[in-house]
Each structure stands twice: as C-alpha cells, then as structure tokens.
C-alpha cells in the first residue's frame, strides 16, 4: 500500500516549539513508525503516545489526502459548500488554493497566514488535525467540467428506508475536519469558512466525535452510541485487496482522481430509546457480535471471521439470517468492501424527547458501486439493525489524491 511520508519539521514550525515541549520527540517518533500509524487507522491500535496528543502532526502532502488512513480523531466537523452565483471554475480554483494553503498551515501547527488568524487554537499543538477536500456531482456542471465527471459519482440509488433531508444532503464542495482537540477543530472550520468568503456558501454542517485517545488502554476500539464495537470488519492496510478497494489506482480514470477515493457520507440517526429497551441477548442477535468485545457470536475475538455456516444444536444459524454482520459480510456481497471511518454525533434532543444522536457514517472506497451501494441494497432488504436506524442525510464526494509539494488539492482537475 501507499502511505503518507512523514515530513521532517520545517523551519517555520520552530516558533511553535516553545509551546510544544514534546514536538521534537513526537515528530521523530511519528517518523520512525509511519507505517504503524497508517495501519492503526484501520487496526484500531493506540495511534499516539498520549504525551504527544497535542504535538502530533499529520502531513498535508502525500499520496493520499489526510483524514482517510489517519487514526480516527476525537472531534470532527463535516461541511458542504455550494459555489455562490457567479462563481465558476476560476473562482473555485482560487478557493481550493486558499483552502489548501490554510489547511497546510493549520495541520503543521502554525497560525493562519496573513494576520487573519482568529486565535482560537493559540497555544495548542496541531493535535492530529486533518483537513480533507472533496467534490460533489453538481460541482462539475457548475464549473464546466462535466467531461471530467467520474462515472463513480453517479447519484446513489434511493433506498426504501431513506428519509433524507435534502437541505443536509449533497453539496458541491466537501470539507472533512478531524482533530484531537475541540478548539483546534473549530478553529480550522472557522478559518476555512472565512476563506470561502463570497465564493462559496455553507450548505450544511455537522459535528461529530469519537473516543479520546487514552480514555482506554485497551486497543483503540471504536464504539458507537449503541455501545457496539464499530468497524471490526474494515479492510486493513496490507491486506491483498486493500488499495484496490479503497483507492483509485494510479492509472485510474479520470486521471485527476489517481490515488483518490470516493466518500459516502450518511447521517444515520439511532433510535436509542428503542434500542436500549432490548436485552443484551437481543442486541447481540441483531448485530451478530458480542457487545463486550465485538467478537462474532460464533466465537473468537474481534478480528475472527464470523462463521456464517455455524449452526446451534437445534439447527438454527448461530448468526441469524438478518444479523447485521451477515448482511454486511463481503462473503455475501461479492467481495464488496469499504473503509468505514465514522464519527458519532449528538445534537441534543428532538421535540419528541428522543435523542438526536447517531452516526456520521463515512465510507471510503475506490468505487461506490463495489462498496457502499451493494451493501446498502442488502441492508435495505432485510437487516435487523435497520429497524433501529434512520438515514436522514446522504452525500457522495470525489476526493482526489493527496497534493504534492506546492500543489493544491484539486489542481489536477481545475487546471488539468
């Protein structure tokens, strides 16, 4: 697999070092274990020594954009923008150039250039900040670039269980922000929104979170708000088909998407009041895994493959026909797989008293028609978990490969 190269600290980072006592040591540590760090994104190992929470820096430049293989951060913001009336390809290119410059500065732990920094992240380290940019289908017609529209960006099919809010779906430009500090993440969101200026207007914005690094000394298991271990069956870097499943190949089409990926974003509300009324045994039957450690009901540990053929003494399948783990298994989906890298969300309570909470599902794949779409089609037909969820928003974005030095994200598209 291809991985980010971890850059040495550049001289411009020096002014920040006074405030980051451990940045030198942490930089070396990250450099020496770059492979392990990238792998941790999917294998759920502790991503950073805790003493380096603030000091850890994720490179902006690389083969892939940051925020895909980066270990899941504690805080996330998702934002979609639409170009303003009158803005076209030229203005979009200028915006992506500004956004890329700001993303690089902030990911390196600097203040935003030009004296325009809001100061919200002052005296914090970069805290594993990542900024990831993508393009929605409507962007291509708006900018006269329909000849560059990837076939993979075809609209997702409608699913019978969808209850989508169009105002919180789709969008021409997408920004994903992640960081292990809330103020660092908010600082980046404010900076990027300001850069958008009169060129692009916010369409929707969502906030999410994951476990804090160090909240457990257990391997960095990701749990969702149902209490379930999440992402167990993710493809893992180093596996035979990992790159082919997650990233567009170097020779892929369109050429500007080389090393890129497609992100499916779904806001999935959880019916937690209903879920919490179910017994542990009922919940585990719905999922097909043990709640305590994520192991399949057929035994082993979280990493053990579920034995979908195993039967109980009475002849019934140990993992039920409609268990989530069976329906989503690559074995039952012609090998379809995607890299799920979600955030949880909690926006208070609804008027009916139920929590407005669930999962900001983000799935990465080389082709949604071989990732999200076939899996969701099966879920839509008969998944036990779907009775406890509502898909309330949906979007699909083309996320180009990582920028080289001196390049901005999307340059190969906008100046191709």
């Amino acid at each position: 697999m291809t991985q980010h190269d971890h850059e040495p600290l550049e001289p411009r980072a020096v002014s920040r070092r006074r405030l980051l006592g451990t940045v030198g040591a942490a930089g070396l540590a990250v450099g020496a274990t770059g492979g392990a760090v990238a792998s941790a994104a999917v294998r759920d190992e502790p991503p950073t020594a805790l003493t380096s929470l603030g000091a850890t820096r994720v490179p902006f430049h690389g083969t892939h954009q940051a925020g895909i293989l980066t270990p899941q951060q504690a805080h996330g913001h998702l934002a979609a923008f639409d170009l303003a009336p009158g803005a076209g390809r030229k203005q979009a290119a200028a915006l992506l150039r500004r956004w890329s410059a700001t993303a690089r500065e902030l990911m390196e732990g600097e203040a935003q250039g030009g004296g325009r920094d809001t100061g919200i992240a002052l005296d914090a380290g970069p805290s594993s900040l990542t900024v990831t940019f993508g393009f929605g289908r409507a962007f291509f017609s708006r900018t006269g670039l329909t000849d560059q529209l990837p076939t993979e960006l075809a609209p997702l099919p409608e699913f019978s269980a969808d209850a989508l809010d169009k105002d919180r779906s789709d969008g021409e430009l997408w920004v994903q922000i992640g960081a292990n500090d809330a103020l660092v993440a908010f600082h980046a969101l404010r900076a990027l929104q300001r850069e958008a200026g009169e060129t692009a207007k916010l369409r929707w914005q969502m906030n999410g979170f994951n476990r804090s690094p160090g909240a457990t000394s257990h391997p960095m298991t990701v749990r969702n708000l149902m209490g379930q271990v999440d992402g167990s069956n993710n493809p893992k870097p180093g596996e035979k088909d990992f790159d082919a499943r997650v990233f567009v190949p170097a020779s892929g089409t369109p050429a500007w998407m080389a090393h890129g990926s497609y992100a499916v974003v779904r806001r999935i509300r959880m019916l937690l009041d209903d879920w919490d009324k179910k017994s542990l045994a009922e919940q585990e039957r719905v999922i097909g895994r043990r709640k305590s450690d994520g192991a399949p009901l057929t035994g082993g540990s979280e990493d053990t493959e579920p034995d979908l053929d195993k039967r109980s003494a009475d002849g019934s399948p140990v993992i039920a026909a409609d268990a989530h783990v069976r329906v989503t298994s690559p074995d039952t989906n012609g090998g379809a797989a995607m890299l799920r890298r979600p955030f949880s969300y909690h926006d208070g309570f609804r008027d009916d008293g139920a929590p407005d909470a669930g999962l900001l599902f983000i799935a990465w794949q080389a082709d949604p028609l071989r990732g999200f779409v076939p899996v969701q089609r099966k879920l839509d037909r008969g998944d036990a978990l779907s009775r406890f969820t509502r898909h309330e928003a949906s979007a699909l974005f083309a996320v180009p490969g990582g920028p080289g030095k001196g390049e901005y994200v999307g340059q190969r598209l906008l100046e191709g």
Copy 2:
C-alpha cells in the same frame, strides 16, 4: 479550604482494572496530589498526566460535590428536568437516590448496576467523569418544601441585553456532567435520563466542550471561541476569601445547603462573524487583555492584576473605561467574585449562516447577589464585550454540599 478526599479504590473497581492498565498508579498519584488537583481547577495547571486520561477518577463523596473544583473537562452535558405531573417529594427523593447511586457507579468506572448498562462506555476508564446535581426554585413549591427555599434562589433580575428562551431556561432539577471522553459523558447522560423514567421529564439539554488535556504543554489555559483566555481573574483556592465566595459555610442557612454553592448557568451566544472582523488591537481593547497570553494591557502575565489607574502618554486609560476586564473587576464591584467554570458550545449554524456557538457560562458562588448579579448589572450598563454576545438562556440552581458515604445528594433537604 475544604477539599475532596480521594478515596482508595474499592474492591468493586477490580473488574475494571484489566482494561485500565494505569489505574493503580494513577489512583495513587491522584491520592498523593489531591490538593494540587483541586487547586488546578482554578489555577489552570495540567490536571492529569496524559497517560492517566482514562484512568483518572474523581470521588463522588466529599465535602463539596464534584464538578465545581474539578479541572474543567473536555466534554460536558447540561440537562434540566421538571418533575412529571403527580410526582412529589417522595418520588423526587427516590429519583435523587437512584441518580446518586448511578453517578457514584459511573464516576468510579463501573457499569451501571442492575444489568441496565447501555455499554456505551465499555472498556473506557472513568476519564474524570463528574456528575453534579442542583435544585431550581420551582422544585420547592412542587415538593412542598417552600420552607426550605434559600433566599439566594430568588429569581435573577432581568437584564436589558437578555434575549432569553424560556424553553431553555430554568428547570426544577439540574444535572451537570463532565468527562474527558465523549462516550463516557454521553453514557452518563443516557443513564441518568433513563433513571428519571416517569418521575422527571427533560426540560432542556446542552452540550459543551473544552480543550483536551494534552493539546498544549503550556499550563492548561482555557480559551473560548473568541480566542480569548477565559477565567484568568477567577478566585483561586487558598486565597483568603475563596471559600467564603464560592461555598455556603458549614453554619449557613438553610442547613441542607452547608458546603453547597449556587450555580448561575447562561447560554451566551457569541457573534463570531462580527468579532472576527475586528482587528487584534480592537479585540484586545474590548477585553483589556492581550489575546496571546491573557496578560492585562497594563503589562505582566495572565496572573498579574490589571492596573486600572494606569494611563497612556496622552492621558487616556490603558484599560478602556468599558473594557471587559475593568467592568468585571472585583475592585469595581465591591469585591463581588464568582468561580467561572464554563464549557464552549457549537450547535452548527443558524438559518442566517452565523455559527450557533458561544459559551455555556457556569458561575459558582455562595450568594448570587454577591457574585453574578452585581457583575452582570454592570456589564449590562456598558461593557464593550456585550456588543458581541447574546444571553439566550438563563438558570439558577442550589447545589448542595457533597454526599457522605451512604448518603444521596439532596438527602438533607428531602429527608430533613
């Protein structure tokens, strides 16, 4: 000053130790530096070694309730409940007993008892979880306890700048949750709401955050979303008047409020788009402090007293007449002081495109008439910062002293 005693780990915590590799060491460390930890709540020193982020446990029992002197956590939930029709003193007492038992269990890092745990916090340590309970004015008439109503719980006066949403103000029962892990905090909120059952219904609920421990190696400076250092002029434990300002004395009235405190809660939206348009010099003039390090414009460091009499060469005061630091200074308010312990909030964006973000202001004092009220009256008359804020919700709660072993919070009121 009185402080929490840090308890030895009890045998029931053992089952959790497997997952918390550092809990033994951290427990000892906390015990040995208990004074320093309580002090850090106000002095903004790093509260925990980062390796103990998950393992750090705040005792439920103590002279004061947890969550007042505890260092500010990275995640917070505030929730107000009203008793359901038909529920009175007896049902309220049973609820406080259930809530206290659950708060103690979760703060000690256990699962919720009775097999009713949702599992959301499984394999996380207690992560400095605190749960704090308070009573609003309406509680006393609902429960026939008007003879126990503290005079300090008189309704706050109306301020000209208030734009209060009644649906997000007041409330009969108040719960403040803080933790350094988002899932630990959410888990506690869900558990307590479930315990409320048919006895009490949610009135309002808000989510907040602070910087993650370890995001900076600088002393744990608290910044708000304007980028300003917040809480610099807080009274500090060990100062002569600290206890008298923050806590009801042991001999205070009513007797059930001994060692308790009064919490003023204000949801203060920040007009960040307006604020961010101001130059650094203009922002610093509004506050009267340097943005970079919180030092007064009259010099020194964050801990230096502002020299309110100092004048520039042209004779004008260095700290402007309407600067926030001058208007809120105890010297200009007859010594009025309160312990501010806020969370920031960010609930996405409003319909007008402005961020729905600001401060969940929480101020602790022995008497609001000698703390919040005189300061807010002065702010209301001519504070430069007020042009950039909107008070959107308000509440005042009586927060009893900490429970002894075997006691539940509020027992002295409800069974007195």
